[in-house]
Symmetry: C2
């Protein structure tokens, strides 16, 4: 197992391992005390073992594509946009990562924004697609 102090490379390894269901490689990117936070459901998962289980057990034949990585080397944090596909359904997600002193992921915060209908009153400014 190797870790790297480069936040972008660690996050790339995290997503590659997740896509391959390579849970050993996935776990190698994580701090032992990793904290996973889902603000929309107010759920938290504490610790590498539970967080790997959460991902390993996650139902559905999901695939993930990384759309954008925003890597703040000075600030030691990374934001990622992904697109998850489950059958015909596409779900964008956003992920924020922070790191411990060894460069392993110490916190992950996920957001899953759903489609919604826009409010009335701004049709003169917007176009729909």
């Amino acid at each position: 197992m190797t870790t790297t102090a480069d936040p972008r490379a660690t996050v790339e390894s995290y997503w590659t391992a997740a896509g391959l269901r390579d849970w050993d490689a996935f776990a190698a990117t994580l701090a032992d005390e990793v904290l996973y936070d889902l603000p929309q459901t107010r759920e938290r998962i504490r610790g590498k073992e539970r967080y790997v289980s959460f991902n390993r057990e996650y139902p559905g034949e999901w695939r993930v594509r990384v759309e954008r990585i925003v890597a703040d080397r000075d600030g030691g944090q990374v934001a990622v946009r992904t697109l998850f596909t489950v059958g015909a359904r596409e779900m964008p997600a956003i992920h924020f990562f922070t790191f411990d002193a060894e460069g392993r992921i110490s916190e992950i915060t996920d957001f899953w924004p759903e489609p919604y209908e826009p409010p009335a009153g701004r049709e003169h400014l917007v176009e729909r697609y």
Copy 2:
């Protein structure tokens, strides 16, 4: 009017100006051809004039607090987490920014993730808060 080539400083000016309803200072952070994208509603707004109008006309006594800035200087992009408050309601939002050659904001993509109930089957791994 001054522009800066530092993406983080430009984004900080953008949020400060929005909070103060200083629409001249807000406009000064934007490229003339700025593109605003709301993937959840599939809405787009093109151009500085329309985008400033969209913000100036936005209803409600909203306030905004910047929670986190992820500034990728090498990649020329920034991700931001904010918390909007309208009366007693709090709404987290996530914003991605890119920039033109002069350091002005050329693209903004906003996400507004809503609360939802978690699916069953992971209670053995998570805690609620």
